[in-house]
């Protein structure tokens, strides 16, 4: 094993150059790892925030309801379906909802809103709203015609708990729904959109008012995390099939329920890689430079070795090993420092200065705690490593075509 030994010695013949090259590789990996793990963690936070407020990981709806929420598009005998789905393992929460749109009026103001008929006993399993009541109490089944409304809506309606709220809407059969609710609680979910336009009443009241006959518009499922949710899609579809229902139902995951979130993540990832690629290309140039230099410099030496009868292939291999050593050391050091930085911000949290407002609007916590993960180790190392190896190809190619006589004279 003379080759590795030679290679190792060669890279330390000019320690400054080696340190600089390793530094360039390590620096880029460190930067990539930090940004990458920050991105991944931000996506996690965004998904769990958006999913947690109201949508859940999975929803079962009538086919086409998601694009076009018509009150007639109903899941009939929803309780029946719910009971069977609850049997599945890895379901953490399950609740059904009726959804209507209507006009609510206080004494002085009227607004168009979304009316959710929720099951008070299980809504908390799929939505954070029951836990985010800042004034009054959440719904329970003992009180008739109580309503819980968003904080922005309460402000716009100039209404507080205990006050009456008139509701006008259309029932399932097209008849007019008109009733007086009592505001019993006000919630603040943090999403202005939801806080401005949501009224929750109990499913029992909703069923009666909108004449749902036990039907629902959505069955909401929460699982442990986004990945587990994907595994639930097939068994749920199978249960629906086995029931041989008259209406067609769709099983939607969070990506379909919140297409904007999914695409925002994709877009951010693509934009991120645009930046990362430019950094990787720059580093590759610096590596190409180093190797080209080291070939040119050693023209005479290579000439001597060639005249002694060694094959150009041997030298190309030697050069490749040298490159590999440099790259591996760079990756090692980069990951080490990268992990240290990520760990540091993982414990104190990272917040971009002035970003609170933007993050809040997009439903993100203002402080992100990045974590080292397999992904955040692998992708930076892999991409930088591969492109670094590519950038050594040209110098190696040069060595393969070396002419001993010219090389001896130092002409490469």
């Amino acid at each position: 094993m003379i080759l590795p030994q030679l290679g190792w010695r060669n890279i330390w013949r000019n320690p400054k150059r080696t340190i600089l090259t390793v530094g360039a590789i390590g620096f880029s990996i460190m930067v990539l790892e930090f940004f990458f793990s920050l991105q991944l963690k931000t996506y996690d936070a965004a998904i769990s925030a958006s999913v947690g407020i109201l949508h859940g990981h999975i929803q079962i709806q009538g086919e086409g309801y998601n694009d076009n929420p018509e009150i007639r598009n109903v899941i009939t005998s929803a309780n029946n379906l719910k009971a069977q789905i609850r049997e599945l393992s890895s379901i953490e929460g399950l609740s059904m909802r009726g959804v209507g749109f209507g006009l609510v009026s206080s004494e002085t103001r009227s607004y168009g809103v979304q009316i959710l008929g929720v099951e008070p006993e299980s809504e908390g399993e799929v939505s954070n709203i029951p836990g985010l009541i800042k004034d009054g109490v959440y719904l329970d089944n003992n009180q008739y015609l109580g309503a819980v409304i968003g904080s922005v809506l309460a402000k716009n309606l100039k209404i507080g708990t205990g006050q009456p709220l008139t509701l006008m809407s259309q029932g399932l059969d097209g008849s007019l729904v008109a009733t007086v609710l009592t505001v019993i609680g006000i919630f603040e979910s943090g999403s202005t959109e939801i806080d401005r336009s949501t009224v929750e009443i109990s499913y029992r009241d909703f069923d009666e008012l909108f004449e749902m006959n036990g039907g629902a518009h959505a069955i909401v499922v929460r699982s442990k995390d986004a990945d587990t949710a994907q595994e639930l899609l097939t068994p749920i579809s199978q249960i629906i099939l086995s029931q041989q229902r008259e209406e067609k139902l769709a099983v939607l995951d969070w990506q379909k329920l919140l297409p904007g979130l999914k695409q925002s993540i994709d877009l951010d990832m693509s934009a991120g890689w645009l930046f990362y690629t430019s950094l990787i290309v720059i580093v590759s140039f610096s590596i190409l430079n180093t190797f080209l230099m080291s070939v040119l410099e050693r023209g005479h030496e290579f000439g001597v070795i060639l005249s002694l009868g060694l094959k150009p292939k041997f030298m190309a291999g030697l050069l490749f090993l040298e490159a590999l050593f440099l790259i591996l050391i760079g990756i090692l050091i980069g990951n080490l420092f990268g992990a240290l930085i990520v760990e540091y911000f993982g414990s104190v949290g990272f917040s971009a200065p002035g970003a609170e407002e933007v993050l809040k609007k997009w439903n993100l916590p203002s402080r992100i705690f990045p974590e080292v993960s397999l992904k955040s180790f692998f992708w930076p190392s892999f991409t930088v490593g591969v492109s670094a190896i590519f950038s050594t190809l040209y110098p190696m190619f040069k060595v393969l075509r070396l002419d001993p006589l010219k090389a001896l004279k130092g002409e490469v």
Binding site: L20, T21, R109, G260, L279, I282, V283, S286, N289, L292
Partner: protein, 407 residues
């Protein structure tokens, strides 16, 4: 001094391949930084333009309580000609009077919450998107036109069509509920679906009679020829109308400005990262080239060249590499900028652009400050990092270095 320039210039071309690769790395770094920043800026500045076009304008005037509670009750009576007159010292492009209240719109089959906006169609032309946004049917003729214009997406939601009647339900200036039927005369297109869902337009005088406002309006929106004069316009207006609430677009749309600030921070960090990466390559090259020329430096010093001048020669060499790379990178960035001047189509990410609130086409924007920051950072960091090789070269001992025994 010129001799040093000449020497330095010749020196960097003694090993053209090495210099070219270094210049290449610098210019790619600069090019990527310039291009990516112009795309990022295009996104955020585009958002600002869209916000301004989206009925906000540069400056808005409201009754004091209106912004918290946009009801017909909070109206006022200032005519646009008076505003124009008060701002005569500034160039005003357009001033519009509007009625604007939340309402519920009902078709035969569905009902949705919308913002009812009463406009003077002619004055909106140079002010907001609705001026030429109608894609189907007709625009409103004037402020007395009895028709209504709704967004394309809203038309789909309501499952209605041109020529159909819809009913608007809202509260008038006395807070009593009023309703009136309108015929859909036009359908508008907007950059964002949320805009197409949020607004319906009727003639201003029609809205005033519907809401029992008499001559009252909800807002005045105005656009200046020069967006930089916003603060001056606000100062003047606040003096003229002390009892009114007067805001600039960046107070009304704080998110746009917040995003821009986050970008400011991110871009400068990114420039720094790119330039540090580039510098690794530059230091490497300069270290090699001084090392190679050890003997030559020894000779020069033996002939009486002062170490100080040697130091400046090597520094000038680095500076030349940096400046050539910088110019090439900027040139490439400028070319790129013109290639992309039609915009980058992000319609694949339509739902994301909806969620985050930017248009589907992003047109890169050249911001001089970014360019200057990037260039200055490159030269400063580049020079600092090459000080070491230069200093090293100037410290060679003539005797040992001539003999080639090294340092």
């Amino acid at each position: 001094m010129p001799i040093i320039l000449k020497l330095a210039f010749r020196n960097i071309w003694r090993n053209p391949k090495r210099s070219l690769i270094t210049i290449g790395a610098i210019s790619i770094g600069v090019w990527s930084a310039v291009t990516l920043s112009s795309i990022a800026r295009g996104l955020s500045y585009g958002m600002a333009d869209d916000a301004i076009n989206n009925l906000v304008g540069h400056v808005q005037i409201h009754a004091p309580k209106y912004l918290d509670d946009p009801a017909a009750e909070f109206n006022f009576n200032i005519s646009s000609s008076i505003v124009r007159d008060r701002l005569s010292s500034l160039k005003v492009r357009a001033v519009a009077e509007r009625v604007r209240v939340p309402a519920v719109l009902l078709s035969e089959r569905e009902s949705v919450g919308v913002n009812l906006v009463g406009i003077d169609p002619q004055t909106e032309k140079s002010l907001s998107f609705i001026g030429d946004g109608v894609s189907e049917g007709l625009e409103l003729m004037d402020q007395k036109d009895p028709g209504i214009i709704i967004g394309k997406r809203l038309k789909e939601i309501l499952k209605t069509k041109l020529g159909n009647r819809v009913v608007l339900v809202t509260q008038d200036s006395n807070n009593s509920i009023v309703d009136r039927g309108f015929r859909i005369v036009g359908v508008f297109d907007a950059k964002l679906e949320s805009t197409e869902k949020a607004f319906v337009f009727v003639g201003r005088e029609v809205a005033q009679s519907f809401l029992n406002l008499e001559d009252g309006i909800s807002e005045i929106s105005l656009k200046l020829e020069d967006a930089e004069m916003v603060d001056a316009a606000i100062a003047t207006l606040k003096m003229e109308f002390p009892e009114m609430e007067i805001d600039s677009w960046y107070v009304l749309e704080p998110l746009v400005i917040a995003l821009r600030k986050v970008q400011d921070g991110f871009l400068i960090i990114w420039f720094f990262i790119v330039i540090v990466s580039v510098s690794f390559g530059v230091v490497n090259t300069q270290l090699m080239s001084t090392f190679e020329r050890m003997r030559e430096f020894g000779v020069m010093m033996a002939l009486g060249l002062k170490p100080k001048r040697l130091l400046s020669m090597v520094t000038v060499e680095s500076l030349m590499l940096l400046v050539i790379g910088l110019s090439m990178g900027n040139l490439m960035g400028a070319m790129n900028f013109f290639i992309l001047s039609d915009g980058i189509d992000l319609s694949t990410f339509a739902a994301a652009s909806e969620q985050l609130g930017f248009g589907k086409i992003v047109i890169p924007r050249f911001i001089a400050r970014d360019w200057i920051q990037c260039s200055v950072l490159l030269v400063v960091i580049g020079l600092i990092s090459t000080l070491y090789p230069a200093w090293k070269g100037s410290r060679y001992d003539p005797v040992t270095s001539i003999s080639g025994r090294g340092v």
